[in-house]
C-alpha cells in the first residue's frame, strides 16, 4: 500500500476543504472496508484520505413517519440492530445483517457502500427497490439516478453522502445468494411494495451493477405472489460470469431469489 496523508476533520466543511485541498488524489474514508482492501492490493493509491469518523451528525437513524433516514456513517451492524429500522423496514435491517461478516458489519457504512457501488454490494439493491433518496452535502439524488453502473455513481469527486432516506414500504424483503468464497452477492434481489408501486432490484448479477426487472414488477403488480415471478426468466446477456457462477446460472438465480423475496414478504 502506498503512503498517503491522513486527515481527521471534525466538521463537514473541514472534510470538504481537505478533500478539495488534496486534489485529484484525495478520497474519503468511512469504514474503509471497501477502500483499504483495494489499496492493500495497490489497485488504488490515493494521496490523501479524509476520514468522516469525526464529522458530527452522520451517525443517526431517524424515523420520519413515512420514511426512515439513515446517516451515512451508520455501520451495517447499527442498521441491522436499529429498533427503528427493524420496526419500519425490517427488510432493510435483515439485509444489513447479511452483509459480509460480523466484523465487516461493525466497520462498513451505508455511505461508503452506496458511494462505492460495488456491483455485488447489497445496499444498492435495497436503495433502488425501496426508492431511496441519497442525501449529500449539496443535494438530494434519487437512487434511480444515483447508481450509474459498476463502481460509478452520480457523486462529484468532492461530494459527500450525508444520509440515505428510505420511504417506508408496505412490504419488502431481500433474498441473497452469496458467493461461497467472498460472501458478496451472486444474485441479491430486493422486492418492495412501496409508495412508488412494486419494485424489483437486483444486485450481484450484472456487470452494470444494480438493475430493475420491469417484467417482474409488472407481474407482481398484477398478482403479488412468488408464482407470478417464478416464471419470469431474466436474460443472461450482460450477466457477470466467474468461477462461482456463470451467466446462465446467475440469471436463473435472479428468478429464484426474486421468488423467495416475494414469498418472504408474506
Amino acid at each position: 500500500m502506498n503512503d498517503f496523508t491522513y486527515h481527521a476533520p471534525t466538521s463537514l466543511d473541514e472534510a470538504l476543504a481537505a478533500l478539495r485541498g488534496g486534489g485529484d488524489g484525495a478520497k474519503l474514508i468511512a469504514g474503509g472496508h471497501s477502500l483499504l482492501p483495494v489499496m492493500k492490493l495497490n489497485l488504488a493509491s490515493p494521496t490523501d484520505l479524509v476520514s468522516l469518523a469525526g464529522v458530527p451528525g452522520l451517525g443517526d437513524i431517524a424515523d420520519g413517519g413515512d420514511s426512515v433516514t439513515v446517516g451515512a456513517m451508520c455501520r451495517h451492524a447499527q442498521v441491522a440492530g436499529s429498533a427503528v429500522v427493524q420496526a419500519r423496514i425490517p427488510a432493510l435491517a435483515a439485509m444489513a445483517d447479511g452483509i459480509g461478516d460480523a466484523q465487516v458489519r461493525n466497520a462498513g457504512t451505508i455511505g461508503g457502500s452506496v458511494a462505492h457501488n460495488d456491483p455485488a454490494a447489497d445496499y444498492p439493491a435495497a436503495c433502488v427497490a425501496l426508492g431511496a433518496t441519497i442525501v449529500t452535502d449539496r443535494r438530494e439524488i434519487h437512487s434511480d439516478d444515483f447508481f450509474q453502473g459498476m463502481f460509478a455513481t452520480a457523486l462529484a469527486d468532492d461530494e459527500v453522502v450525508t444520509a440515505v432516506r428510505f420511504p417506508v414500504p408496505a412490504r419488502a424483503a431481500y433474498a441473497k445468494f452469496a458467493n461461497p468464497a467472498s460472501k458478496y452477492a451472486v444474485a441479491g434481489v430486493m422486492v418492495a411494495d412501496g409508495p412508488a408501486g412494486v419494485r424489483v432490484a437486483v444486485t450481484g448479477a450484472s456487470g452494470d451493477g444494480v438493475f430493475r426487472v420491469a417484467e417482474m414488477e409488472a407481474a407482481l403488480g398484477a398478482s403479488f405472489s412468488g408464482e407470478a415471478v417464478a416464471g419470469v426468466a431474466v436474460s443472461s446477456d450482460g450477466m457477470l460470469s466467474d468461477t462461482a457462477a456463470g451467466a446462465d446460472y446467475r440469471a436463473h438465480l435472479v428468478t429464484v431469489m426474486a421468488k423467495r423475496a416475494v414469498e418472504a414478504c408474506g
Binding site: 492490493l41 445468494f177 461461497p180 468464497a181 468461477t243 462461482a244 456463470g246 446460472y249
Partner: protein, 785 residues
C-alpha cells in the same frame, strides 16, 4: 502402565493452550532479530517465459534497499532437491530436472521466484521489487494434465519429452487382466481428484541469520520437519555441514503437508543472510501463498472393477495421470505412487490389483503432499467405483462392501502392503447405527416434503500411516530414512524433558507425549515438558507428516523411557542392595519384588546426578535416546457416513450430518484425537463441496485469493458424530496407528455418494468434486433435458 488422571486415555487439557490463548505463542513472524532486514520475493507474473534480462538498477536505487539478488547471483548454489526417486515401468529413473531457487533463464509458473529484494522495511522491499524490470519473453504454457499430454504441447523441460516425469506401475498386470477375463460384471469409472490449495492459516515465513564470527547459520522457518530442511538445505543446496546450520521451526500455524517441502525461499533467505551478514526476514503474503505454497491432489483417473456374479471383487485396474506442477517438490513424486497405488486393496479382498500412474510437469505451482497425500485420491476413486458397482449391479451399497471385507489378519494385499490388524465390520456396524442408516428413508421423505432432495452416502476405507520401514522405502526410492528419535532426560529432581524429532503444529504433541511419559514414569504430568522444532536441541528427526508422529515418534519416546527405567533399576538395585532382576518399576517407584522396600524415581534421579553411592561402572546421569524404525505402516480404518440435503432450485448442498466410526488404534488423548478427526472431516468436506484450484489455459491462477477459493467456514459444516472402535496396532508397543488425516481420506467419497444419492431421483448419476451449487444445478438441468 498405570492409568492416572492425566495418563494414557485421559482427555487432558493441552499444555500448549495457555500460550496460544493469551497471545503468547511464538510463530516465525513474531520473531525479530536485532539488525534484521526484510526480504521481498519478486515472483513471475507469467506461467512460462524465457527471461531476456532483468534490470534492477531502478530498484537498487530505491530508498532503503540493501541488495537485490537474481538467479544469476545464485548460479553456483545447488538447486532444490526432491526426496524420492521413482522408476518407470521400463526401469528408467524419473526425469529430474534442476530447480534453481531463483529462476535461471526461464520461469515455469506464476509465482516462480525471480529475485529477492532486501531493504530496511517490508514496504520498501516490496516497493523496490515493483521497480525491477524483467524482460519476460512469453512461451506457450501447459496448465493442466490434458494440455501437458496433448500432441505438440509446450515443453516445461526439454529433458522431459511429452512433459512426462515417470510412468510407474504397481501390482500384477497379467493377473489383473486374467481377473477381468473371468468377470461376470465389469464396472468402470472416470474420476477427477480436484486440485486443492492447502491454506494453513499461518502464511509461510522465514528469518535467516549468519554469524560471521562463527560461520553459523540459523534459519527460523514455518516447517513441519526442521531436520529434514537442515538435511536438504545443508547437504544439497548450500553445502553447509549440519553443525553450522541450525533450523528452528517454532510455533507453526498449521501445515497439512504444505510445510513439509524444502522451499526455494528458505534457501534464498539463508544464502542472502550469508551474503549480507545480517538477519533477513520474509513473510509470505496470502496472495503469494496461493501461488507458492505447494498445491495438492490433481489427478485424472480411469478405473475398472471386475466382479463375479455375486458381487465379489475379482480385479481392479486403475490408470491415473497426476499433475506434479512445474518442479519436483520434496515428496511430490512419492505422493501419487507409494502413497497412492498401494492403497487400492482398500479394506477389500480383491485378489488382483494393478495401478499405473503417469506423472506430468505443467506450468503450475509444484504439487506435493496435502492432508492425506495420495490416500484421499485412492480412497475417493475406490469408494466411488464400489458405489457405482452397487448401483449397476442392483446390490445394496452396504452389502457389497461387507461382502468383500478382509477379515483375516495379517493380510497381504496384492499391492505391497501387509495389514496387521483391523475389524472393518465393527466400524461399519457402528457407523450404520450411529448414523441411523436404517431410518434414512423417513428423513428423505421429510426433506422431500420441504422441497429438498436428501441423500446418504457411505465410504469404508483403510489408511496407511507412518510410512516405513526405512530399508523398504529406501529400496523404493526414498532418499531419507523414515525412523524417528526420542530422548528422555530425567532431571536431578525428577522432572522430565522429552525431546522429539517430530513437530507439533496443532497436533498437541506437548500434551500427548507428556501423557505417555508421565504415565510410564509415574511422574506428574506437569513435571514433563516436550521440546520439539529445533535442530540444535533435538538429536535428529524426520518431522511430522503422514500421521506418523505418535506411531513412530511416540514409540521412540516409549523406547527411550524403557531405557531410562532399565538404568533406573540398576541404580535402585544398588541403593536397595538387591539384585537388578528383583527390581520392579511401577507408579514412579522402584521396588524390590515382594517387599515394601523402594526408591522413588526422584531419589534414583538424584543419585544418578550425585553419584556418591553408585553402582560401579555405571555412567552417571539419567538420560536416554532411542531411534525407532517401524516394522510396517500402521493401518487405521473406518466407515464414514454423510447425509446431505440439496436445494434443487439453486443446487446448494447442505451437509446435514456426518458420522465417523474410526479405528485409529490406541487413543492416548480422546479429546485431541476427536479434534484431529474434526479437522480432517472439514478438510474432506471442503474438497468434496467447496474447494477447487482453477487455472486458466495460459497458466494464470483463477482462484488466487479467499475471494474466489472457497474455504470451509463454520456455517458450511455440521457438528460431527465421532465414534471409535479400537483394534491395536500389533507392531508398536503402544498399539497406536494415526489419526491426523483420516477425515480427509474417508469423507469425500461419502459426501459425493450422498449427493448422487440425493440427485438420483432427478436423473443425475454422476457428480465431480467439488459439488458446487452451480455444478449441481447444471447437472440437474442436463438430466431434466
Amino acid at each position: 502402565m498405570s492409568a492416572n488422571g492425566s495418563g494414557i486415555g485421559a482427555s487432558v487439557k493441552r499444555k500448549e493452550d495457555t500460550r496460544f490463548l493469551t497471545g503468547r505463542g511464538r510463530y516465525t513472524d513474531d520473531i525479530n532479530l536485532p539488525g534484521q532486514l526484510y526480504g521481498y520475493i519478486l515472483r513471475s507474473p507469467v506461467a512460462h517465459a524465457d527471461i531476456g534480462g532483468i534490470d534492477t538498477s531502478a530498484a537498487a536505487a530505491a530508498p532503503g534497499v540493501h541488495a537485490i539478488f537474481t538467479g544469476s547471483d545464485m548460479e553456483g548454489v545447488g538447486g532444490i532437491p526432491t526426496g524420492w526417486l521413482i522408476h518407470s515401468k521400463d526401469g528408467e529413473p524419473m526425469v529430474e530436472p534442476g530447480h534453481p531457487a531463483l529462476a535461471l533463464g526461464k520461469v515455469r509458473y506464476v509465482g516462480d521466484c525471480v529475485a529477492i529484494v532486501v531493504a530496511e522495511t517490508r514496504e520498501q522491499a516490496k516497493e523496490a521489487a515493483n521497480l525491477i524490470d524483467v524482460d519476460y519473453q512469453e512461451l506457450p504454457a501447459v496448465a493442466s494434465i490434458e494440455a501437458a499430454e496433448a500432441e505438440g504441447a509446450a515443453q516445461v523441460f526439454d529433458e522431459a519429452p511429452g512433459n512426462v516425469c515417470y510412468d510407474w506401475e504397481v501390482g500384477d498386470r497379467a493377473a489383473t487382466d486374467a481377473a477381468f477375463d473371468e468377470a461376470t460384471h465389469v464396472v468402470s469409472i472416470d474420476v477427477v481428484n480436484n486440485r486443492l490449495i492447502p491454506n494453513a492459516i499461518e502464511p509461510r515465513a522465514a528469518i535467516a541469520n549468519y554469524d560471521p564470527a562463527t560461520g553459523d547459520y540459523t534459519l527460523y522457518t514455518t516447517s513441519q520437519n526442521p531436520h529434514l530442511i537442515r538435511l536438504l538445505l545443508g547437504a544439497f543446496v548450500l553445502g553447509l555441514p549440519e553443525h553450522k546450520l541450525r533450523i528452528v521451526a517454532p510455533d507453526v500455524g498449521g501445515g497439512f503437508g504444505s510445510k513439509i517441502p524444502h522451499y526455494a525461499e528458505e534457501a534464498i533467505l539463508t544464502w542472502t543472510a550469508g551474503q549480507l551478514g545480517r538477519p533477513v526476514k520474509w513473510t509470505c503474503e496470502r496472495i503469494d501463498a496461493f501461488k507458492s505454497d505447494t498445491h495438492g491432489r490433481d489427478h485424472i483417473s480411469t478405473a475398472r472393477l471386475a466382479l463375479d456374479a455375486d458381487g465379489k471383487f475379482l480385479g481392479l485396474h486403475v490408470s491415473t495421470k497426476a499433475n506434479l506442477g512445474a518442479y519436483l517438490s520434496t515428496f511430490a513424486t512419492c505422493v501419487p505412487t507409494y502413497l497412492y497405488g498401494i492403497l487400492f486393496a482398500g479394506p477389500y479382498t480383491t485378489p488382483a490389483v494393478y495401478c499405473e500412474v503417469k506423472s506430468f510437469f505443467t506450468n503450475t505451482v509444484p504439487v506435493d503432499a496435502l492432508r492425506g497425500a495420495g490416500r484421499p485420491e485412492a480412497t475417493y476413486l475406490l469408494e466411488r467405483l464400489v458405489e457405482k458397482a452397487a448401483v449397476e449391479l442392483g446390490m445394496d451399497r452396504v452389502e457389497i462392501r461387507r461382502k468383500n471385507f478382509i477379515r483375516e489378519f495379517p493380510y497381504q494385499t496384492p499391492v505391497a502392503l501387509q495389514y496387521d490388524q483391523g475389524d472393518y465390520d465393527a466400524t461399519l456396524d457402528l457407523a450404520l447405527k450411529a448414523s441411523d442408516w436404517a431410518g434414512f428413508e423417513a428423513r428423505r421423505a421429510e426433506s422431500a416434503a420441504r422441497g429438498k432432495c436428501r441423500g446418504i452416502g457411505i465410504s469404508t476405507f483403510i489408511e496407511a500411516c507412518g510410512i516405513a520401514p526405512s530399508a523398504v522405502v529406501g529400496s523404493l526410492g526414498a532418499r531419507a530414512g523414515l525412523y524417528e528419535s526420542g530422548s528422555v532426560r530425567v532431571h536431578p529432581t525428577g522432572s522430565v524433558s522429552v525431546f522429539t524429532g517430530t513437530h507439533s503444529h496443532g497436533q498437541g504433541h506437548e500434551t500427548t507425549f507428556a501423557q505417555i511419559v508421565s504415565d510410564m514414569l509415574g511422574v506428574d504430568f506437569e513435571a514433563v515438558d516436550v521440546v520439539h522444532g529445533d535442530s540444535a536441541k533435538i538429536p535428529f528427526g524426520m518431522g511430522t507428516y503422514g500421521s506418523r508422529s505418535l506411531a513412530v515418534g511416540g514409540t521412540a519416546i516409549y523406547l527411550a523411557v524403557e531405557k531410562v527405567i532399565e538404568k533406573g533399576k540398576k541404580i535402585a538395585a544398588h541403593l536397595l542392595e538387591a539384585s537388578v532382576e528383583d527390581i520392579e518399576f511401577e507408579n514412579g517407584s522402584f521396588t524390590v519384588a515382594g517387599t515394601d522396600r523402594s526408591k522413588s524415581l526422584g531419589e534414583v534421579a538424584l543419585t544418578a546426578y550425585v553419584p556418591h553411592n553408585y553402582p560401579e561402572g555405571l555412567e552417571p546421569g539419567l538420560e536416554e535416546t532411542a531411534f525407532y524404525d517401524p516394522l510396517n505402516f500402521t493401518f487405521p480404518a473406518g466407515t464414514h457416513v454423510a447425509e446431505v440435503e440439496v436445494d434443487p432450485e439453486t443446487g446448494e448442498v447442505e451437509v446435514v450430518a456426518v458420522t465417523g466410526a474410526d479405528d485409529v488404534g490406541r487413543i492416548i488423548n480422546p479429546m485431541i484425537v476427536d479434534g484431529q478427526l474434526h479437522g480432517g472431516l472439514a478438510h474432506g468436506i471442503g474438497q468434496a463441496l467447496l474447494e477447487e484450484c482453477l487455472y486458466q489455459d495460459d497458466g494464470q491462477l483463477q482462484t488466487g485469493s479467499y475471494l474466489d477459493y472457497t474455504m470451509p467456514r463454520a456455517a458450511d459444516l455440521p457438528s460431527f458424530n465421532i465414534n471409535h472402535n479400537t483394534t491395536l496396532c500389533t507392531h508398536n508397543p503402544l498399539g497406536v496407528k494415526g489419526v491426523g488425516e483420516v477425515g480427509s481420506i474417508g469423507v469425500p467419497p461419502a459426501v459425493i455418494n450422498a449427493v448422487i444419492d440425493a440427485l438420483r431421483p432427478l436423473g443425475v448419476n454422476d457428480m465431480a468434486m467439488p459439488a458446487t451449487s452451480q455444478k449441481v444445478w447444471q447437472a440437474i438441468q442436463q438430466a431434466q433435458g
